[in-house]
């Protein structure tokens, strides 16, 4: 089973063509194993990237080095997945 311990989802909103290009470049870096929940679509539109734990530091460093601001949309992906599972189990137990 795939776990998401330490994973985060980052939200990036490119405001310049350079920023957009840098974000698009991330899509080609397969070794980072990024999962684009919302792919780049243009300036001013959010890009949501699910980043596995080992890639968090390099991705954030890449964004910060290029002056690209981002926010943490989901701080702890595994916590949300666990909560989802818990709720499903609770419903089944109630039934």
């Amino acid at each position: 089973t795939e776990t998401f311990v330490g994973h985060q989802v980052l939200r990036i909103v490119p405001t310049t063509d350079e920023e957009l290009q840098k974000v698009e470049e991330l899509q080609n870096l397969e070794e980072l194993q990024l999962d684009f929940w919302l792919a780049p679509r243009g300036l001013g539109h959010p890009v949501d990237v699910h980043v596995p734990f080992p890639s968090l530091q390099p991705v954030k460093a890449h964004l910060e080095a290029n002056g690209i601001s981002y926010s943490i949309m989901i701080q702890d992906v595994q916590a949300l997945v666990d909560h989802e599972q818990t709720e499903m189990l609770r419903s089944r137990r109630q039934l």
């Binding site: 795939e2 998401f4 999962d35 919302l38 792919a39 959010p46 699910h50 997945v81 419903s91 039934l95």
Partner: protein, 309 residues
Amino acid sequence: PLSTNTFDYTTYHSLDEIYAFMDLLVAENPNLVSKLEIGQSTENRPLYVLKFSKGGTNRPAIWIDTGIHSREWVTQASGVWFAKKIVQDHENDEGLASILDKMDIFLEIVTNPDGFVFTQTQNRMWRKTRSKRSGSLCIGVDPNRNWDAGFGGPGASGNPCSETYHGPYANSEPEVKAIVDFVKSHGNIKAFISIHSYSQLLLYPYGYTRTPVPDQKELHEISEKAVAALSSLYGTSYKYGSIITTIYQASGGTIDWTYNQGIKYSFTFELRDTGRYGFLLPAKQIVPTAQETWLALQVIMQHARDHPY
């Protein structure tokens, strides 16, 4: 659950639970609901479609599918809610009753069962099908890039490891081919709605080309009314427009194909939310999401009913 009245619509369910729900719904409403098997998935799971019909033969029909991208769990859950809603309201709701007087409704709740099971057993974030191809270690094809509409063009990937991999050829995925075959053999589908999440958008064709569809004005007007209806319930805000102008170029998409088949009222929804939880939308939002989406669906269905072509 012993009946669809005791089924818990406020939680996410497994494939087995959803398929059991379907059987219950059919058993409780044999004069309205039937279950069709339109094909089998890559891993030989049945592809079930619920048909809601008051009779007649090959009536004009509305198609709704949910769960084509398996990780978009609020869509399958909403599909379950829609099924129950149709049964509850088919007699007492004037709008729905009049739709069913003239048209049938087909609802495929779990359009990608292999992917759905995989999200529940192995990887909650799985999006694609589970097909394997020789020469690649990567599995799966994006079922919303596998349709024969601008197939293989910009807006899809030829890399099997990509989340938007279009597949080796159009309709390579049995989940897609089953719908294609069904639509072609039925021949009388007048509205086609494919439901995804997330982003809170209502979209119409095209995604593969910037050429506007001939019916762009009408589809835009319908979208405006549908979104207004949706927002009226809980104030959820939606944007609307063509796929390529509202999000990005995407080739091989479902509703581009259905539109090119002559199904004028072809729409795609992207349900809640806009980025607080994304695909991990809390279960307590299932019912509100389904309720508001249903209002928009009714606008589209009523328009299809009132504008035969």
